[in-house]
Symmetry: C2
Subunit: 319 residues, 2 copies
């Protein structure tokens, strides 16, 4: 009987749970409210109920569980070091808490790393050796696959691209620094751009798509731009150009085969990819850009599946 692996992706509001076969087929999917304010022990109990339900439905305990958390994770020890959005969870030993509830291995990892891993295995079929994955959500993060394996770095924070500086005199970022990639490309930054632009020049398209600007989302900016709205086109254009400044450095450093964009903002597709590719094509130092593929993932939310797949790796704790 094929072994079952469970992936758990903890979001700010909802936690997604998926059960996969070793071959990657999805057996079951669940969602539970994260309710981070309650503390991690209550979360583990509620997740435990889901795992019991799963085991009884599938007639077997999962052989492995991968937990994806938005924060700094000590993956060797299975501890969440620091999560800005889950302050009560900091320092909690998730591996120990979950070990009794899963038959097999428990792997705890950063959520962006797991999303990149999921895309690498399922979408790229592990074909390229070196891949840079960039998660574009409210914040900007990412993960690296080097020589076919996840690269965590010395303390597990490799691939945190959000606060790379693309312009030292650039925009103020929410981290306190200036000119971070996130200050140009995070959903919060794009929405602030749109609201600023709308004060100068109203956009009928945007008003129609989202009459209440407090509910504005980046998908509205993409829809309006796709419909020809100039204000929104300009926002994506600038975002793509600033993205290229950071991405060019990344590509020179790592020389990957593929750069893959993930996360909600990546759904903007060509709006973001066209100015990005155009700028990269103009880089004077050509070597690492020749043959480079820059694309948006077909499924921007691989975190949960990636965590389940990663927990099945022969040696997920090695790097």
């Amino acid at each position: 009987m094929d072994s079952v692996s469970v992936g758990v992706d903890v979001g700010g509001t909802l936690t997604k749970v998926v059960a996969l076969t070793g071959g990657g087929s999805i057996l079951r999917e669940f969602e539970l409210p994260t309710q981070g304010g309650e503390g991690p022990q209550r979360f583990i109990e509620r997740l435990g109920s889901v795992l019991r339900l799963l085991a009884s439905e599938l007639g077997r305990s999962p052989a492995a569980l991968g937990l994806a958390l938005a924060g700094e994770v000590d993956s060797r020890r299975g501890i969440l070091r620091y999560a800005p959005n889950l302050p009560k969870w900091n320092g909690f030993d998730f591996r120990r808490a979950l070990r009794g509830r899963v038959g097999g291995r428990v792997v705890v990892e950063n959520d962006a790393n797991m999303a990149v891993w999921g895309a690498y295995v399922r979408e790229l079929k592990r074909k390229p050796k070196h891949v840079v994955g960039i998660t574009l959500g409210t914040g900007v993060g990412g993960g690296l696959v080097i020589d076919g394996r996840l690269h965590r770095g010395a303390t597990g924070s490799a691939g945190e691209f959000g606060h790379m500086r693309v312009n030292p005199r650039g925009r103020r970022c929410r981290c306190g620094s200036r000119g971070c990639l996130e200050a140009y490309l995070g959903a919060w930054a794009l929405l602030a751009d749109a609201k600023r632009a709308l004060r100068r020049r109203p956009s009928r398209a945007l008003r129609t798509l989202c009459p209440d600007l407090r509910r504005l989302e980046t998908r509205h900016l993409a829809l309006a731009a796709q419909g020809g709205d100039r204000v929104c086109r300009q926002i994506w254009e600038e975002a793509g150009e600033n993205f290229a400044l950071g991405l060019a450095g990344l590509v020179m450093i790592l020389n990957p085969e593929v750069v893959l964009l993930l996360g909600g903002v990546s759904k903007a597709g060509k709006l973001l990819l066209s100015p990005l590719r155009r700028r990269l094509a103009a880089e004077p130092f050509r070597a690492p850009f020749r043959g480079l593929s820059v694309r948006a993932s077909r499924n921007p939310n691989w975190g949960c599946v990636g965590a389940a797949l990663f927990a099945l790796e022969p040696d997920p704790g090695a790097r």
Copy 2:
């Protein structure tokens, strides 16, 4: 009998040759003029004479040879793709040309990669897993060790840090772009800084150390600064601060244990390291900077030894 490996580091003027035992002891060292204008075939013949001399002196043929070239190398095939300073050598198949002259394996690699490899094996004793090496010479380059192995990237250009942009509106670089790391940290840029500064404000120290400014070298700038010269101290201070802008991004991407500075400019030591470390310590996103060691190599010229050591690796062609 311990096997012998030969390392060859081709510089613009001089080519250095070293013969090492497998244990890393230096048996012989030679220098020959590169004379790149003559074309690669003549160079191979002259190198062949050195190899014959070596074999007769040591009583055996080398088991491996590592050739380090300043340019874009196809290390899989052993071909120099593109070397800006050796135009007649572009496209030459060095592996084939050398194979008949060495008993064993011939490895052709980028010179900065080999310098970083030499420092990794001999100076760091392979202890850290992830190391960023930055070569600071006339130009700026580097190499990456990831998980204890050299990371070349998809096309062998990984670790080319010189043209990472630290400021998109910054100084004009000799590559045609703006604000590249090299435009702040390459020896050519530091010397231009000094000459510019001297036009505004003369430096008695520098005039004493180097009466003919056409012969100015970065070691003069370091000596003057160490002696308290303000103009020169300011140059190193600014270089270190601009270096930090680029290095911070590198560290966030890769999360290495060690950043090692190599090459002639790294001899400035604390003049460069102090402002660099101070700026890195002020980065708001702390995770990858905690525990990071940033230091200058004790031997800034590991290229030749690195090439000899790399040629002895069990699988030097894998990444």
